[in-house]
């Protein structure tokens, strides 16, 4: 008889997640509450693992998630994006939180959140720093204005604290706002960074699908659908100093401004987009698959709807560019 494998610290959470996730798919918000619960539990386990080795945390800290988790828009499967900030800058805390960061990334991987290709994880020293170091890093990113540093800033802007001190990153985000106050043109640099939208509707108003690969015939929902909305709305949120991280609540707040009234339609489109992706879950559970939509399987109504959403995403991008340019003209 085979010996049963010894239980790892994450096995219980893993099986709980697997058995319950199916019951939380009626809405994107319900699914994300579920993800939050799982990740908070995961954090507690990781912390107690590290406590056993290194004792209690040497100082206050915040653990935050970014990317789709930060925006409260995770699909059923999403890769991990997270970071750590801690108060006291010394060797002891550095060592402690590096260890914790590694443990969290490993734990998340164990329970079903794939590693992030871009290395946006607490296990990466770039995303695990003391408050002081974070301030310096963000200043450096702001000054550098390289494609990569701007990317990092945009990623960081979606950060949402999931464990530890709730306001641990608020001041860090304010650095971006202060910089833009001094140098409004920086907003346009941010816009340029995410301006490219993968084309999804052709000259004959046909939906452009992948021509090769295992998703041939599918439309790339992530790049052509989600990204233009997420990026444009994040930018407007930065401009208006809105601290919410989810695209929908950002939109909600923006619609409160009289000049953004026309974004109402955008909200509807983005909700539809989230729902299209949610329906994809029933078809497949592979990470890549949820980002592609098989247009052949859609009825005519859905197909037209998705086409309109894709077109509106591009329009929204253009609109955002105009808003920023107009702002810059008024400044001068």
């Amino acid at each position: 008889m085979n010996e049963p494998e010894p239980m790892g610290p994450y096995d219980t959470l893993k099986s709980w997640r697997e058995s319950h996730i199916g019951n939380h798919q009626t809405s994107i918000s319900e699914l994300n509450h579920f993800h939050d619960t799982v990740m908070q539990n995961l954090f507690d386990i990781s912390l107690s693992e590290v406590k056993e080795k290194l004792g209690p945390p040497p100082c206050r800290f915040s653990w935050f998630v970014m990317g789709s988790a930060g925006r409260f828009e995770q699909a059923i499967i999403s890769d991990q994006d997270h970071g750590l900030v801690y108060h006291v800058s010394n060797e002891k805390s550095r060592e402690y939180f590096r260890e914790l960061g590694k443990e969290i990334s490993f734990g998340l991987y164990e329970i079903g959140y794939p590693y992030c290709d871009g290395g946006v994880m607490s296990s990466n020293p770039l995303w695990c720093k003391s408050n002081e170091e974070w301030e310096m890093q963000i200043d450096k990113w702001l000054e550098e204005e390289s494609f990569e540093s701007i990317r990092f800033l945009l990623i960081f802007y979606d950060a949402r604290v999931l464990a530890g001190e709730e306001h641990g990153i608020t001041r860090l985000k304010q650095q971006l706002h202060h910089h833009i106050e001094k140098r409004p043109y920086f907003l346009y640099r941010l816009f340029e960074n995410t301006r490219h939208v993968k084309k999804a509707v052709g000259v004959f108003r046909q939906i452009l699908t992948e021509s090769h690969g295992s998703h041939a015939g599918y439309v790339d929902l992530k790049h052509s659908g989600f990204f233009p909305y997420i990026n444009a709305i994040r930018l407007l949120a930065i401009k208006e100093n809105i601290s919410d991280t989810s695209t929908l609540s950002r939109l909600e707040k923006l619609c409160g401004f009289p000049e953004y009234k026309e974004l109402e339609g955008c909200k509807v489109d983005f909700e539809k987009l989230l729902n299209f992706r949610l329906q994809q879950h029933q078809v497949s559970e592979l990470y890549d698959d949820v980002h592609y939509l098989d247009v052949k399987k859609l009825d005519k109504k859905d197909r037209n709807e998705i086409k309109q959403i894709l077109l509106n995403g591009k329009k929204l991008q253009d609109y955002t560019g105009t808003v920023i340019k107009r702002m810059l003209e008024n400044e001068n």
């Binding site: 999804a200 052709g202 090769h212 690969g213 295992s214």
Partner: protein
């Protein structure tokens, strides 16, 4: 005066031969660029020795089969092992003419091998080079150019859309079917992957070399320089190539949303292939139209073959096959009464359907012959040579190392090997 013309014509023919042989260089770049690094040395190198084989076979048998006397329905039966003798009363050197024809036979073979790329065994290249050069190409060439029955019907194929390109493409087609797709080309769910070529610069340069070589191919096919008609042929050739590149770029942009470079390059080539049959028979505006249609056709043909699960790494079936058919038919539409020195004017010039019918029959019969015979030959080879294809492991390693023992890009691979072993 006659002596001067004889010399000038001979120079023109040899220049044509040089340009057409230079097209092998274009194919080396085109094929190597369109395939992966691990097969680059093999693909480039094989072009040289298969041209060698084709030259020797053409000298021993091919020329006699195509142009010999006392022929039967299939081939002529004299003038084997050409000794370099001059035929009395010709306007140019017979040896120059021989070289010109030899170059064409070599091109047809290289086109055929496009369909073998990245998976056929080296021995298959050797054996099929001999068989194709002796039994496939000469028959079609004899029928149309060597005084055979299609030529007598007035089939118009000025420089060989059918004879050279379609014949090669049909052999490529038979090979792709028997060889089956390369590993990783198609997914289990039936979708196709893009096995990207390793160097688009090579591919583009290959197209330009072919484009230039084509002036030897088409304009050289006037054989003589007398009235300067070769200039007009060159003009038509260039117009069709340009139109094909443009229309392919536009159609790929309209349908895919992105202007695809390989499609555009294939569009230029398709324009060249299509105008090859008709370059001497049509007006300049028709050359542009022929090129435009060829560019669009090649785009859809590439998609079609992929949908049919035919893996055609260099797009030989679309560029030389589909465009070869279109080019041959096009003279049945556009040939003008003044220019149609062979056959009748086309449909749009009051010739009715006669010439179009002749063209269609020529394409059908020639294509079918080339396909069936190539298929049968390759099928027999498959049975007797223990398969046409390298093993799975060899295919993954790449044919550079499995078939030749050295890499086309040693630095790219040897360091990796070292890392693995250390």
């Amino acid at each position: 005066m006659e002596d001067i013309m004889f010399s000038l014509n001979s120079v023109w023919l040899i220049l044509g031969a040089i340009l057409v042989i230079f097209m092998q260089g274009g194919f080396i770049l085109l094929e190597a660029g369109s395939t992966r690094m691990k097969n680059a040395g093999h693909i480039a190198g094989k072009t040289i020795f298969t041209f060698g084989i084709s030259s020797i076979v053409f000298w021993a048998l091919g020329y006699g089969f195509i142009f010999g006397e006392n022929g039967n329905f299939l081939v002529g039966l004299s003038d084997f092992f050409y000794s370099g003798y001059e035929i009395e009363g010709m306007d140019y050197s017979t040896a120059a003419y021989f070289m010109f024809q030899l170059a064409f036979a070599g091109i047809s073979l290289t086109i055929a091998f496009g369909g073998f790329a990245e998976r056929a065994k080296l021995s298959v290249y050797v054996v099929f080079a001999i068989l194709f050069s002796a039994l496939v190409y000469p028959v079609v060439a004899h029928w149309i150019w060597g005084g055979g029955w299609l030529g007598e019907h007035g089939k118009q194929d000025f420089a060989g859309s059918t004879v050279v390109h379609l014949t090669g493409a049909m052999a490529a087609f038979a090979a792709t079917i028997l060889l089956k797709p390369r590993m990783g080309k198609f997914n289990k769910n039936g979708t196709a992957n893009n096995l990207y070529g390793h160097n688009q610069v090579f591919t583009a340069l290959g197209v330009l070399v072919l484009w230039i070589g084509w002036f030897g191919f088409n304009a050289g096919s006037t054989f003589v320089v007398d009235d300067g008609f070769f200039g007009f042929v060159a003009l038509n050739t260039n117009l069709a190539a340009g139109a094909g590149a443009i229309s392919a770029l536009i159609i790929s942009w309209m349908v895919l949303g992105k202007s695809d470079i390989p499609t555009m390059l294939n569009g230029g080539l398709a324009g060249l292939v299509a105008i090859t049959a008709s370059c001497a028979f049509v007006e300049t505006w028709a050359a542009v139209v022929i090129g435009i249609v060829a560019g669009v056709l090649v785009f859809y043909s590439m998609k079609l073959f992929e949908r049919l699960k035919v893996d055609d790494p260099i797009f030989a079936l679309s560029v030389h096959g589909a465009a070869g058919v279109w080019g041959t038919l096009s003279t049945g539409l556009f040939a003008t009464p003044e220019l149609a020195t062979v056959g009748q004017p086309g449909l749009f010039y009051g010739g009715g359907f006669t010439q179009l019918g002749v063209q269609a029959m020529g394409v059908g019969v020639s294509g079918a012959y080339a396909f069936v015979i190539s298929f049968v030959l390759l099928y027999i080879m498959k049975k007797t040579m223990n398969g046409l294809r390298v093993t799975e492991e060899e295919e993954i390693m790449g044919l550079d190392i499995s078939e030749h023992g050295s890499y086309g890009y040693p630095e790219a691979f040897l360091t990796k090997e070292k890392k693995i072993s250390s």
